[in-house]
């Protein structure tokens, strides 16, 4: 079995993102970039399936600017076998990413595709579902457990009321949620080894995909700031304030 994992380069989750003064976007100059945390979980899951002897090859793919190579190298250092970069400076929205990934799937023919449930920059939570739709594949989104069977995969999903398990026919698509696993730390020797692993670079045109954005961002601004309130000295004072001042209890 072959697994394709999509890894996105995003602003690191520890960075407090700010809107540009002119409202055209967010400040990304000199900001730390990392692999989307959900994608680390996706890569980790693929590696665990390989370590369990259930998968032979793991291909990590990223779409975007040249620097996305770093993100792919991280996936390779974690344990993926080879990488693909679909290189473009153009803005990529989830539908375009899904179309590019579909073309890559048709080329690579994986049995399982794993994505993160959500990119922490656009917070869209769409690409996996869109890719599954375009491929006509079943989807196991927000996965907290993935169990491969014979021609099937059972996926336990984090839903609003608790957990739900679905059985999907392979080939299938999975999106990783937070509790699927805890990604490993990359070891230094593996970073060196990763530099020697193959990384193919393609252009969207090579894949014959129209990536024109469908949404135009008119402006980006910061929401009104919440003001800090007061410190109370005791529990009794707290209850008094909530009752007599805020009138919420």
């Amino acid at each position: 079995m072959k697994i394709l994992v999509a890894v996105k380069r995003v602003v690191d989750y520890n960075v407090k993102v700010r809107a540009k003064a002119d409202g055209t976007g967010v400040e990304t100059a000199n900001v730390k970039m990392s692999m989307n945390p959900f994608d680390e979980i996706a890569v980790e899951e693929a590696i665990r399936l390989q370590e369990a002897g259930k998968a032979q090859e793991i291909v990590a793919i990223s779409l975007g600017v040249t620097a996305c190579q770093d993100t792919i190298r991280t996936a390779l250092a974690m344990g993926a076998d080879r990488g693909i970069l679909v290189e473009t400076d153009a803005e990529l929205q989830p539908l375009a990413v899904a179309k590019l990934l579909k073309a890559a799937v048709e080329k690579e023919k994986p049995d399982l595709v794993i994505l993160g449930k959500q990119a922490i920059d656009d917070d869209a939570n769409q690409t996996g579902q869109m890719l599954a739709a375009l491929l006509g594949w079943p989807q196991g989104t927000f996965a907290s457990k993935v169990e491969l069977g014979d021609g099937t995969v059972n996926v336990t999903r984090e839903v609003d009321g608790g957990l739900e398990t679905v059985a999907l026919k392979l080939p299938a698509l999975v999106t990783a949620d937070l509790r699927l696993n805890e990604p490993r730390f990359v070891k230094l020797p593996n970073i060196m080894k990763a530099k020697k692993k193959p990384l193919e670079v393609l252009k969207p045109a090579d894949l014959g995909v129209d990536i024109a954005p469908r949404l135009v961002t008119l402006k980006v601004q910061e929401p009104p700031k919440r003001q800090a309130g007061i410190k109370v000295g005791s529990v009794a004072e707290l209850v008094d304030k909530l009752h007599n001042e805020a009138h919420v209890i």
Binding site: V11, R18, E164, V220, A228
Partner: protein, 316 residues
């Protein structure tokens, strides 16, 4: 404008998130149809027909909609899409599972977590954990979007008298099936619909200690929530998580206990009307958004809070 709203339900009752989505729909136009797809879900269709503002209810009743799997739901919705200018669903796990699939099959963008409708094609949505808000304009013929419940009031559950129309189920796509579920049982209100929420974080130490919060929650008629750290540590089930990648809530009162206030947690609760923080670290970032902060050990403060609430009740 012709708007199709996908109802969220469990074949028995309409989920409250549907009501907020109907309100968003009323800001787009008057021609509002609600799709109830399920199995033996007639009662849900009846309830949807009563909701103020709803003009028509479409019911698709078949065994393969019993669990509303995305593959079958998307096939159905795509079949009904023609003639509609907007397709809306609540921004819940179910809505987020199905709607991107619908959008891709229609070859249109999907807009996630809409918090404001500026016009028929222009919407506001949070990005980067709510650190910034993006105003986006759609160029597509059909606007497919999920609606954040906290941003729109609930439509009234009575006052409507919509006609109920049966629609033919689409063929079972047959690539996925439901195996089972483990739903959290609780008599407390649902997190996203609760007026008061008491949430615990890593500071709670273990799952047993959450009983302290449950006791307070029961006295306040509140729901219990948690930070990611508390869920990851196994103190409470996954559906308790509040935040960027969990549930987004905006109750009248949110009490954060032993929660530091990471940006990803704030993303899920900073629109609450009144925020209380109980934390032993006076530097904890949660105090920057709290209306009332109490620097204290929670193991002393929470039992005391319980007693003070008893006193308040006794005083009437």
């Amino acid at each position: 404008m012709s708007i199709l709203v996908i109802a969220e339900h469990d074949n028995v009752a309409l989920k409250p998130a549907t009501l907020n989505t109907v309100t968003a729909a009323t800001q787009l136009g008057e021609d509002i149809a609600v799709l109830v797809a399920g199995h033996n879900c007639g009662a849900v269709a009846e309830a949807a027909a009563q909701v103020a503002g709803v003009k028509k209810v479409l019911i698709a009743d078949a065994p393969h909609y019993a669990h509303q799997l995305a593959e079958n739901m998307a096939a159905l919705v795509v079949g009904l899409a023609s003639g509609h200018t907007h397709i809306l669903a609540p921004a819940t796990a179910a809505g987020k599972n199905t709607l991107p699939r619908v959008a891709a099959l229609l070859d249109v963008a999907q807009i996630t977590d809409v918090i404001k409708i500026d016009s028929a094609d222009t919407f506001v949505r949070p990005i980067y954990a709510g650190n910034v808000l993006a105003t986006v304009q759609s160029k597509d013929a059909v606007k497919v979007m999920t609606v954040r419940g906290t941003a729109f009031p609930a439509a009234t559950v009575t006052g409507g008298s919509a006609a109920i129309e049966t629609v033919a189920p689409a063929t079972d796509v047959g690539v996925s099936s439901f195996v089972g579920q483990q739903l959290t049982q609780s008599d407390r209100p649902e997190l996203t619909a609760a007026r008061i929420i008491v949430s615990g974080g890593r500071g709670m130490g273990n799952g047993d200690n959450f009983k302290l919060l449950e006791d307070v929650a029961d006295k306040l008629g509140a729901a219990v929530g948690a930070s990611r750290a508390a869920v990851d540590a196994g103190f409470v089930p996954n559906d308790y998580q509040v935040g960027q990648t969990g549930k987004v809530v905006a109750p009248t009162l949110y009490v954060a206990v032993g929660i530091s206030g990471a940006i990803q947690h704030l993303a899920g609760m900073k629109d609450s009307k009144v925020i209380v923080a109980i934390n032993k670290d006076e530097e904890a970032p949660i105090f920057q958004v709290a209306d009332y902060g109490l620097v204290a050990d929670l193991f002393a403060a929470v039992p005391e809070l319980s007693k003070e609430l008893d006193k308040l009740k006794a005083a009437g």
